[in-house]
Symmetry: C2
Subunit: 504 residues, 2 copies
């Protein structure tokens, strides 16, 4: 449609399109003319909608006409209402197959003895508690580029430090989540070797973790506690020696062709804007569909952001069990937030409304668009290993570092992160590809943005074209190409296990 396109249509079946700039009355939109001024990001009806009829965007009902909406009219909360109904969840009623691939794609990955495939080759210092954070950072800091020069196949030595691990209950949701994160990182295929560093008396005992998951010390897995090693300096020295012993082994790893089906991609958004649900998220959703078509895995997360649209994910559930597990997580969240004196009320904020979002459904659909259209094959608790190929959901907060930490723990070996307001997020050991919702942002934060989804707005590119570009970036980055955030050295301070319970 050329660079002067003034609106965007998300699906052929939609009743509305979205203005990409402020539109005067009388602007031609497909077959109709706008009846009044329509702000940027707001919706225009492309057919007459009678009172009570459903209104579709994203090929989904986002609400019902509260009065008759003539073709060309501005559609917003004056004529579109969300009808809260007692949702009767149905499972598996909307199962669409992934697009058939034209060829079996590959990338250059690291095949691990475990059978898992890595996209990076780091050595990790995993901490059980904040009390060993400095020890881990000091061990990692010892391994300067000069000291790693002899190990060109090793991407680096990384400290995963955090603020929790003690002053917490020794059982329950928070403890289980932290142990899943520890275990998920310990076995992550992007880590060639792991040294766990604890204090000794913390609640999150390294020994319990080893027992619970059957982990055993070996040439590429070691543990130690500051209290046993007797102090910070001796711990740092011992940690350096342990990493030094791992480096020659880790350096033997070589990239080799691996099927795209070995990719597990974290789908994430942060700092969203009015265009997130229109450009970057649907494009990422298409990339996810392509990946799923290859037998790969896409992992949607951020439960509070899909709240209100969970019935649509439930309709995509491959089995009733999967659908029921999703609804269970929704119910858990309602309790979690209520008992913390908060609210799940995600109704569009005044800022959202000014940006053109009318209903909670419309808002959540924009976030869920990252998950594409294929069947939901599995629902997982935070940090739990994603074991089902295809499109999966992992329960997490929307908060970026906490959500991505869980996705990486769950096995994601690449992260794709869409942003509208702009984020400088980066992660290790899985790299993050950042997708800007507009060309303005892609230009402004050019040193942080890997992909520009803005051309979808101008009409220079389709959602599918940008989606394919994201998919190709995933393969390239998985093969070793550095993302913008990797080039800038991000990922050493973004390990944030979700802290669920009371801090005591």
């Amino acid at each position: 449609m050329g660079v002067d396109r003034v609106f965007v249509r998300l699906d052929a079946s939609d009743d509305v399109v979205t203005a990409t700039r402020p539109l005067e009355a009388g602007t031609t939109i497909e077959d109709v003319a706008t009846l009044s001024l329509v702000p940027r990001g707001h919706k225009i009806a492309t057919r007459t909608i009678k009172t009570g009829e459903p209104v579709k965007k994203y090929a989904q009902i986002i609400g019902y006409a509260s009065e008759t909406i003539p073709a060309g009219a501005h559609v917003h909360d004056h004529n579109l209402a969300f009808r809260a109904t007692d949702v009767e969840y149905t499972f598996g009623t909307n199962l669409r197959p992934a697009p058939a691939p034209t060829a079996a794609d590959t990338f250059m990955g690291y095949r691990r003895d475990s059978g898992r495939i890595g996209t990076r080759n780091y050595i990790g210092l995993l901490t059980s508690v904040n009390c060993s954070a400095t020890a881990a950072h000091k061990i990692a800091a010892h391994f300067t580029p000069e000291r790693l020069a002899a190990y060109p196949n090793v991407d680096g030595v990384v400290a995963f430090a955090h603020g929790t691990g003690c002053g917490m209950a020794g059982s329950g949701d928070g403890f289980a989540a932290l142990q899943r994160v520890m275990w998920g990182y310990a076995r992550h295929p992007n880590l060639a070797g792991v040294v766990m560093v604890g204090l000794g008396c913390e609640m999150n005992q390294i020994d319990w973790l080893l027992e619970a998951y059957g982990l055993k010390q070996g040439p590429l897995f070691a543990t130690m506690n500051i209290q046993d090693v007797a102090g910070l300096k001796r711990t740092v020295d011992a940690g350096i020696a342990k990493v030094e012993a791992m480096l020659p082994i880790a350096n033997e790893a070589r990239r080799e062709p691996c099927p795209a089906s070995a990719l597990t991609v974290a789908l994430q958004c942060g700092g969203s804007d009015a265009w997130s649900g229109i450009t970057a998220n649907p494009a990422l959703g298409y990339a996810c569909d392509l990946l799923v078509g290859q037998g790969g895995t896409g992992v949607l997360a951020e439960t509070p952001e899909i709240y209100g649209a969970e019935h649509l994910l439930a309709e995509r559930a491959a089995t009733p069990q999967v659908g029921k597990k999703l609804i269970e997580r929704i119910r858990w969240w309602e309790d979690y937030v209520a008992r913390n004196k908060g609210s799940m009320d995600n109704n569009p904020s005044p800022g959202n409304k000014r940006g053109g979002l009318t209903t909670i459904l419309e808002k959540s659909l924009g976030a869920a668009a990252k998950g594409g259209t294929t069947p939901l094959t599995g629902v997982y608790e935070y940090g739990d290993e994603v074991r089902t190929p295809g499109f999966a959901f992992m329960d997490s907060p929307g908060y970026d570092p906490a959500s991505v930490t869980g996705q990486i723990a769950s096995g994601c070996n690449v992260v794709v992160f869409t942003t509208g307001r702009g984020s400088a997020f980066g992660s290790k050991p899985a790299p993050t590809i950042k997708v800007a919702t507009t060309s303005e942002l892609a230009t402004k934060m050019n040193e942080d943005m890997d992909v520009d989804a803005g051309p979808i707005l101008s009409g220079d590119k389709t959602v599918e074209e940008v989606g394919r570009h994201i998919y190709e970036r995933i393969l390239a980055v998985a093969s070793g190409e550095a993302t913008k955030s990797e080039a800038q050295g991000l990922g050493d301070h973004e390990f944030v296990p979700w802290q669920i319970g009371a801090v005591m």
Copy 2:
């Protein structure tokens, strides 16, 4: 009593003493002989106690005899019971003056324009959210010792990064606590200059903070957001320039004699053992008394650790208001922990009991011993500015980094940290002095421990002697002497604001 002392008496009025080693039956203890084997750390009755009579340790009732206890008997849960009574709190019924000082002590501190007095002279990078953690660390990392060589009066450039700041409610306990921490660090007298670094769209908005606390940008206070500055690299460059502009001004600061009354000392324990309540904590309590005698301030915290002994602190409340505020915090904690599906049940754990602790009162008395004996002049919420000289209480978790972060935010300019199992904790911008409960630990972790409280067990030193030594260390460290943790470079990863609410 010499190095062969086999027991320790905590107060002349106590009915029991504590064995410092396993004692055979027939061992002479003051006027009596032990009647059976008594394990290390366990209690021995030094007089006959009849059924139902109170049993005192720390000059406090720790329980009641559940049978007649003959002199020389092992006292534990077989003959000592905690009688849960409906506590009628009384306020101000136990007001003991601080010891009169022989002279007005001084230290060499930094007098700030605000009137507050610092013990260190750092420039701080304060982050509003994890999304700016790497930016802050990169700015701080630029200022190597070489680049700071021209500014010998500046102790360093420190990043205060953390895992929270978004995905949280924008009001309520958690939000208020985080803003108090931010404000407390922003105005801390140990920071000559502050640069606040945010992302831009986070819940914990820097602008709201400036508004709430009336902070204004100036030569030594600057703020910036990654989204405004346009990306990580430009933010790091801008931050370096802002710090460079502050360095010459910060370098003008000079230490000058200041009264000990300008010291606000955080009283903290972590990794406690059976000796914490017998050696290091009472010694720190005596140091606190000496400080309070000088007009200085000691800040006890760790509400869960004094749970069950709060009525004793209430009796020391200088006013009923102060006492009532303490009880309010106790009630708040009961609700906090209950709604997080946990329990405040701090009854001695099996490990505690094996170590010789019989009742919850005895356990909490050991922790509260850090607070000495003087009147409780104020009770503060987490991170709130401590405004009353004397002995104060700040609500916090027991978890070390979260508790100390609050104490520093509240204005503490020195931290004293007792430990039995051993901790490698260190903090910035206020330095941490670590006190070992036993000589074994002090020897084993000699590179981490500043003070050995073990000689109290052997009888080589009294509680008062070790307490005076701690007090003198406080003055020396406040004057610029490096603690063990400072010498090792700790404190760059221990900034952990208490995260109270749901992560969303």
